[in-house]
Amino acid sequence: MFRFSKEQSIVNVAGVKFGGQCGQLPSVLCGTIFYQGHRIIEDEERGIFDRAAAEKLVFRQAELSEETGCPAVLHLYGRSPAAFVRYLDFADGVWDGPFIIDSADPATRIAAARLVSEIGLADKAIYNSISLATDEKEAQALHDSEVDSAIILAYNPSQPGVDGSLAILETGGNVREKGLMAEAGEMGVRNLLIDPAVLPLGSGAGAALRFSVAAKARLGLPVGSGIHNAVSSWPWLQKKEMTIRKGCDAAAGAMQLLAGADFLLYGPIESAEIIFPAAALADILIAEAVRDLEKPPGEGHPLQRLV
């Protein structure tokens, strides 16, 4: 419910808008499919999966997006280039909106960026991510691709905390020669989405919330996080029932939105059932909180659609 003096840019990827002042736009919600251990996958390396089950998950996220007004993004995670070939073929057939291409393996990320360029889907793709781990080879591959949207991961383990996260974006801190934002520009990335990098609970997860506000105030760019990681990495909670864990997931997402976030990487796409209502609730509360400070949100906003 903050109002920033810095102009807040709005990023448009395949028709989905991220950013703006708090309460201006509905939150963008990104559910992950084909994540490690996803039960619909039969072979992670080859990308063999239960297509009917995957369609059901994608359609359900789309339904909830339509119902609540919170735009959806399909977050594709792949373990190998071969898997990405199948996943992108699937996504192209069932999903019109933007999608994230993500892998822990840099060679797979590179292959995915090349692939979306070859098959004409680069304008819908969001690269996850440009980070401290991005080396020259990956930077060159991204430069050579047609992908122009990326998540910038503000993780700076050499200087933990908000100041260090801002430093890695702006100057590179003491571990890179340039800031990641400038480097992303050199890679041809025009649509920057800032991610504070959420550490495990107890290791500094909360800094993501403060960073979100600080980054929007300072940079004016859309910010969002995988705050779900703080929940899933909490051993104490893992011993609790599913409903309790889901409740914490929803609470964490809503807290991140209250802290100024424009989008959530909310984790497994199955969590759409609880995240979309929680985010819609947060969006309505935030929009009402700034009602006398900002223009009312547009017709698609949960405030106009659900109350």
């Binding site: 050499s158 571990v175 051993p235």
Partner: protein
């Protein structure tokens, strides 16, 4: 060894901190007087017979937890690395590099091929102690539980405690800082603004508010 189960309370001079392990994580503790610890990397397997056994999926925080839990127990002299690597993160490769090369001035683990291999929360001397206290057994890729249990038995036979006290692992405390109010860059309306750098919320003084006009 990155996450948790029960900790053990030692007797006097047991060679480990009370309680041990000091850092929480998803691991199983069997016998704190045992000489062998096992890291199964990304493989969800739990071979028996080790002092402590668990997964490690990250090349920074996960590795830190392993070092912390190992050097607080002098009985542990062997660290077996097994299971499949966590793709991209490469914590197994990172532990090998840390043991061989240590870290540079920025905390980067020298020679690691992992994505973001940094140590940020361990006290001075912890890495050196890790290097001296334990010998690594590189079985990365192996997932056969019986074979790993055989290794635990073989290496555990002749282990003798490290001839020093458990290394104290102190959680780094973040020092608070006194900050003064700078320029507000976030507005809550009603003449309440926030300086996001200082993380301070304040009421705009009357003269400034008059100059800026009413906000809400």
């Amino acid at each position: 060894m990155a996450e948790e189960s029960d900790s053990i309370n030692p007797g006097r001079d047991a060679g480990y901190e009370d309680p041990w392990p000091p850092v929480r994580g998803d691991y199983l503790v069997s016998d704190a007087s045992g000489g062998v610890a096992v890291v199964t990397l990304a493989s969800p397997i739990f071979p028996k017979g080790a002092a402590i056994c668990g997964q490690c999926k990250t090349e920074n925080l996960g590795v830190e937890k392993i070092v912390a839990n190992v050097i607080t127990n002098c009985n542990i002299r062997i660290l077996i690395l097994c299971g499949v690597e966590s793709k991209g993160h490469l914590p197994g490769d990172t532990i090998l590099a840390l043991h061989k090369n240590g870290i540079d001035e920025q905390g980067r683990i020298i020679g690691s091929r992992g994505a973001i291999p940094f140590i940020q929360n361990l006290p001075d001397g912890a890495i050196e102690r890790f290097q001296k206290q334990v010998e690594l057994v590189d079985c990365i890729g192996r997932e056969d539980v019986q074979q790993i249990e055989e290794l635990i038995r073989r290496y555990g036979r002749d282990c003798r405690p490290y001839p020093d006290k458990p290394f104290p692992v102190i959680k780094r405390s973040v020092s608070s800082r006194r900050v003064s109010f700078g320029q507000g860059d976030i507005s809550f309306g009603s003449r309440v603004i926030m300086d996001s750098s200082a993380w301070l919320v304040a009421e705009v003084i009357a003269a400034k508010a008059d100059a800026e006009g009413s906000e809400g």
